[in-house]
């Protein structure tokens, strides 16, 4: 394959270097496998990565993308072949490792960025190449699929340094030659390659048109886009013409072909039909592109534009928010919910709907193939108590021995610990102190200290426990609200 235009060696070098850099993520995946959990020495992660690209592109040919489940299925034979005894969950983990590597999950799906040096006008200039290989996209039915980017398709098809348009023309020329010379097996392989090219070209154009629909201010329509659309229309017209010619040639050959050749020619014809269908759809899209632009211009021109640029959420909002006092952020909690959660229709109680549901006849249960075992039950002779009588006695003793100015709960717990009481007893002590909160005669008096409790077994507010008052005959005081933060035990 010769270069289509005379490049200087510097330009060709830069082009080939950029092409080489796009394979870097795959090589990195393989190189880092020894640092991963488990022994991956029997697996070639490069092969797995290419298989992911292959399966993804195959699904894209049908107009969608590949689901995760499909990709896991596609990788299974390769993984099992290398390590048949690998457990199913480890297989899934390995497959996800490869897929996430191609998505650049560890950098939160940002573009891969590879630094390189290019020679420009006699000087070495350092640049960075940014690209994605795979992306996850949402479909209108809510499912999420994996799709390959044009760079990913280009990498997979191996024609890294050539424009997809040139590669398509080259593939068709080779296909025509192979067909004329009766090399049908090679022709099928070339036709598949041509199909991949058409998918790559579709992605390239669709991405460009989508950018236009998203924000027309990012494109200069008359200077950049119109000439590109014109060139693309010509390219597709030429592809369609050649593809139809190839199809005619195949149909002529089918008439006199033997059974094996007929099968191969039918396969070629089917692959060409796929390419023709894709190019026709692209052609329609290109024909509508100008109208789309005018519509978007009308729509977007009157869309209110933000005068303030978007903030960096981490540095400009979250970080300063963490510095703010609790009361300020708490006061804004409702608004934060409104801003970051979707609006939702408030549920409305419908009495008639409830009545209908309650009165609806019970659905018949299907035959149950589950055998129900009668549970083993035993008669309880007495109620199991949480705390022993000794615990109750000891806590009563502690609470009756309080000094006149009281003790904090933290001190009481420390005393109990020093006396080598059980944890269960201290739990009972805390419960009794909490029970005394509502100030009933005969019980200790409990007040909040306004400081957190410092104890290894319990957390919450610290409380001041004072000796109880003697019972009075007058009306009991009204219940006061419980401490804001309940004292509760930490993990057992």
């Amino acid at each position: 394959m010769t270069e289509s235009s005379p490049d200087s060696w510097q330009e060709a070098l830069t082009r080939r270097l950029r092409a080489l850099l796009r394979t870097a993520p795959i090589h990195r995946l393989e190189a880092s496998k020894s640092l991963r959990e488990g022994d991956l020495s029997r697996h070639d992660l490069r092969a797995l990565a290419l298989r992911v690209l292959d399966a993804t592109i195959d699904c894209m040919g049908l107009g969608g993308g590949a689901s995760r489940e499909l990709l896991l299925e596609a990788l299974e034979p390769l993984i099992r072949g290398a390590e048949p005894e690998l457990a199913p969950d480890r297989q899934v983990a390995l497959a996800n490792l490869v897929i996430d590597g191609l998505l650049n999950e560890k950098d939160r799906r940002q573009a891969f960025s590879e630094a390189y040096a290019s020679l420009e006008q006699g000087l070495v200039v350092h640049r960075s190449l940014s690209f994605h290989l795979l992306r996850e996209e949402e479909l209108p039915d809510g499912s999420i699929v994996v799709r390959a980017t044009p760079e990913g398709i280009n990498l997979y098809t191996g024609m890294l340094e050539y424009d997809v348009e040139d590669a398509q023309a080259a593939d068709e020329a080779v296909l025509r030659s192979q067909l004329n010379r009766g090399r049908l097996t090679q022709a099928i392989a070339t036709a598949r390659q041509a199909r991949l090219r058409s998918i790559e070209y579709e992605q390239k154009l669709v991405t460009r048109l989508r950018d236009l629909e998203r924000d027309i201010t990012q494109v200069h329509w008359s200077r950049d886009e119109l000439p590109l659309l014109h060139t693309s229309r010509l390219h597709i017209e030429e592809r369609l013409k050649l593809e139809h010619e190839l199809k005619d040639s195949i149909e002529q050959k089918l008439e006199g072909a033997q059974s094996e050749s007929r099968r191969q020619l039918a396969s070629l014809s089917s692959t060409l039909d796929d390419c023709i269908g894709r190019h026709l759809r692209l052609q329609n899209r290109l024909i509508d592109a100008n109208d789309t632009f005018l519509r978007e211009q009308e729509k977007q021109a009157f869309r209110p534009r933000q005068l303030t640029p978007l903030p960096h959420l981490e540095v400009d909002v979250l970080f300063p928010a963490l510095e703010q006092p609790l009361r300020e952020v708490a006061a804004a909690a409702d608004q934060l919910l409104t801003w970051f959660q979707a609006p939702c229709a408030p549920p409305v109680f419908d009495l008639s709907l409830l009545a209908d549901r309650l009165l609806a006849p019970r659905r018949g249960e299907g035959e149950q193939n589950v055998s129900l075992e009668a549970p083993e039950l035993e008669l309880l002779t007495g109620m199991a108590t949480r705390f022993t009588p000794e615990d109750h006695l000891e806590t009563e003793r502690l609470l009756h021995a309080l000094p006149a100015d009281g003790l904090s709960l933290g001190t009481l717990l420390a005393q109990s610990r020093a006396l080598e009481h059980t944890r269960s007893l201290r739990h009972l002590l805390v419960l009794q102190v909490l029970d005394a909160w509502d100030d009933r005669p005969g019980l200790p008096q409990v007040r909040s200290l306004g400081t957190p409790l410092s104890d290894p077994e319990f957390e919450g507010d610290d409380l001041l426990v004072l000796p109880g008052r003697a019972p009075k005959s007058e009306v009991l005081p009204p219940l006061t609200p419980a401490p804001k933060a309940l004292v509760h035990p930490l993990s057992p």
Partner: protein, 251 residues
Amino acid sequence: MIRPEELNALMGMSEDAGRLLAFALTPKARPSLPTYAELLKRYQSDVSLQILTEGLARGLGLRVLEVGPLGMVLGAQDDSPFALRLADYRQNLSSEDRMVHGLIQLAIAAWCFPTAQALEDSSRSVITLSAPQVVQYLRDLALKLKAQAEQDPEIASPELREAWRVVLALPEIRETPDSRRSAGTLKGMVQYALEQLEKNGMLKRSQDETGETYRTLSAYRVQVRELGALSSFRWIQETRRRCPDFILSGS
């Protein structure tokens, strides 16, 4: 005087506008539904339907944030009956809990879209996240602030404690005896927020073995980009103006 046929056309269009808003407010409704797809297509080409729908939305305290092949995304004004309130979200919250729940909404958005470029780059629409990742992220930021604070100040009232102190004081996880997560822990709160986002059509739970990984849908990016980011930025600027002493440097 409106002619009967004009009135009929107006009624029909009002009904369509209402139906479109109803679809947008139904998290499970997707543009793969033929009626919804048809209405979206009409909305994009019929200016009258656009004006009617947007007017109806405004009356309901809603704003049309974006309309595209993935559906219509609405945002609520602060006083809209459709705005999600903390009282509907979680009940009986202390002041600390309110603060943390609000902060978590911001943390999830910042984790997914930390920079303005990340918000604008719609090719990165699907981001994966999980509760442990967001918890770690929030704690790491709080620890950075702790490292910057030279000493613990004497705070007269708990309400004046900085938010990062409250975040660090919260336990990350606590298993309950029946292995449920505890709602009072940071992980429990983050997990709850993710579940609410999933329920409201902003995230999608992954079908992996843990069931704890989520993927963002395009509606979430639109919500954050068109409403959350600037509104929260304005709020923080206003708060900093009112509380300059809390711009930390050992204060």
